[in-house]
Each structure stands twice: as structure tokens, then as C-alpha cells.
Symmetry: C2
Subunit: 216 residues, 2 copies
Amino acid sequence: MDLSQRRGMPGLAYPEEYLRRLASELTERFDGVFGAETIERYVLESYTALLRTSTVTTHLASRTVRFATDRLTALAQARGDVPSDVVEILFVCEQNAGRSQMAAVLTNHAGAGRVHVRSAGSAPSAEIHETVSVVLAELGLDIAEEFPKPLTDDVVQAANVVITMGCGDACAIYPGKRYEDWTVADPSGASLDEVRAIRDDIARRVDALLATVLPA
Amino acid sequence: MDLSQRRGMPGLAYPEEYLRRLASELTERFDGVFGAETIERYVLESYTALLRTSTVTTHLASRTVRFATDRLTALAQARGDVPSDVVEILFVCEQNAGRSQMAAVLTNHAGAGRVHVRSAGSAPSAEIHETVSVVLAELGLDIAEEFPKPLTDDVVQAANVVITMGCGDACAIYPGKRYEDWTVADPSGASLDEVRAIRDDIARRVDALLATVLPA
């Protein structure tokens, strides 16, 4: 079995070379903030983490870029090396395929630039539920570029507010953050009408949350 | 809900302080090999990764020490900063709760110091299957200290031989390594007799593998 052919990223014989090039680009971008060693580790570990739960490798290259860059940005924010002048909200559910993705996109939309939002999963699935994309598209919201990703320390560190939904004890508890657990139904395997109801439930909770974190 | 009380490690109000102390100890241990930034990231990300899939936090402190130390050692080996004069074998299955754990302990036993073994999972479960502990104890092998952990880039980098068992495409493919996929039954939910048969199947494969990687 020629695994290297099955697993290689499209057009790339050795993903390792691509990843090292990406690391080198990010080292320039984060010059003075992170050392090359940290950035190379972030890129290679982000790739392996997404590869673990992916079923197809088609988007793995572009997702690794986004995941690694976002994690490094979160860490820089947490350290105060990159300014963050809005409230940072992190949504965590089990699969990062439904609830936390909906909450993130709805908050991002309702927050209109006044908050910054991330999402993650305690046990991320391979792809976002199709029904979730559909019911968000009904509101004119596009999540085609989003993907499930594992909860990492850096995004918890960067958050001011952490909202968990059905992922048990998956979040590290750091002092100085606001933690909330939302009891929201799981869209996994639910009908389109049920997923619409979950979407609207989350939207109401998002409005209530924003009312408490944004200045009147 | 007082999450901080539920989630804190026993006797530690702020796990963060404990983890930073661990990072500082590892920085001394890996002096000249890794910078403090890399080590702090390894410790905090290793903790968060284990926390994601753990159901109880009782062993989380000691497991974080072992996981972070082993990952840093693997990375140092891969870079040639720490000598590795034996063949490094990595076993990967989905949960790191049965097959890859059995393969690791059986290889370690049969290899008798002539190989070094690691194991990981593409979607690690909370604990090792009880039946697996039982059938290994029947051979006088103890895996009480082992635990499921996610596949990371560092342990793939350190491996000379990577054996996958039912985890699909979870391993990054780096050049210069030998990859093998073993078709072995899953002990999850199997009877004790079935798990014994799986154990013996793996033991036979381990013997055949060792015969090819060890000098005659």
C-alpha cells in the first residue's frame, strides 16, 4: 500500500516541505513575537491535529494555515503582544461541527465587529454538519470556510468569555475568565426543522450574552 | 456552577501555577535543547489535550508530566539532540485504549531494551479498556501507568517504524520511515476470550516485526 501517495497533499509529494515553508512565512509575520522553534512546532502540530480527525485531505493545507495562524494570534493576544481591544469569546462543544460553530457565526454576525469569536471541540469530527450550513445559509450566513478543530490551550488563554455546550469538563479553567455552560440540543442527526430551532435557541442566547459583554 | 472547584487538580487551586512550575523544571532538564517558550507551550498544550478527552482529572497532573516529557524527548530524538541508539517504533490506533496499547507493551517486553516504543490514538478515549489490562496482566504485564493520548507530530518525527491499526489516514507521512498497517480486531466491547485472541494475534505480529528490525 503506497501510503505516501494516498496521504500526500494535492500536488505536494512531501507535505513536510510545504509545512516548513509555511512555518518560515509565519516566522516573518510573527517576527519579534515568537521564535522560529515555537512557530515550526505550531505548524506541524496543527497539521497533525487536523489530520487525525480529517477524512479527506483536500482542504488540509489551507486549514493548517488558518488553524496555526489563529492559534499563534490567540497566544500573542493572551500575552499582550498583539492588541485585542474587543471582548474575545470562545465557544466549545464536543464535535465543533454544530453548536459551537453556529454560536460563533451568530455571535460574529450580531457582534458586528465589537467582539471577536473562536470555536473548538473536545472531540472534533471530520466536517461540519450539512444541516447546520443549510440553516445558517437561510439567514444569509456562510460557514463554508469553517472546519472542526480541537480545543487548544492558546485559544482558552486568549478568551475573556468561554461558553461550553455539552462538552463536559473539556476546558481548562484559568482564573480571570468568565465561564458559562449552555444547555443546547445537539444538531447531530436532527431534522432540518429541529436544527432551525437549535439555531434560534442559540441566537437568543447570543443576544443575551452580547447584551452583558458589550457597553450599552 | 463553580467550575473552578470541579475542574481544579487535587490540592491545587490553579492548575496553571502547577503547570508553569512543571514547565520550569523541564526547561532545566532540556537546557540547551529547547527554549523556555517551546517547553511552556508543550506543557500547557499537553495538559489541554489530555483534559479534552479525560473523564476524571485525578491522574491529569502526573499524565501531563509524562506526556509532555515524552513528547519533548521524541522531538529531541528526531532532531538528533538526544541520542537514540535503538529502533523507535510507534503504534497508532483510533482510541489508544486497546490495540496500540497492547502492541506497545508486548513489543516493549519482547524487545527487551533493544527497541523503544510509543503509542497514540487518532481519537483517544478517556481510559484504557479494562479487559485489555486483564489479558495483559495474565502475561505478567502491567499497564496501570499507561493512558490514551492523541497522536502528535513529535512522536511521528521520532519514529523509524510506524504501525497503524484501524485508524485510517491519521498519520502524517514523512519520508524515511517505514509504515505498516495491521488489520487487527478491535477489543472495544469484545469478550475476555476475544480480547485474549486479539492479544495473541498482536503478539505474533510483534514477533515478526522484531525479527525484521533487530539484528539476527
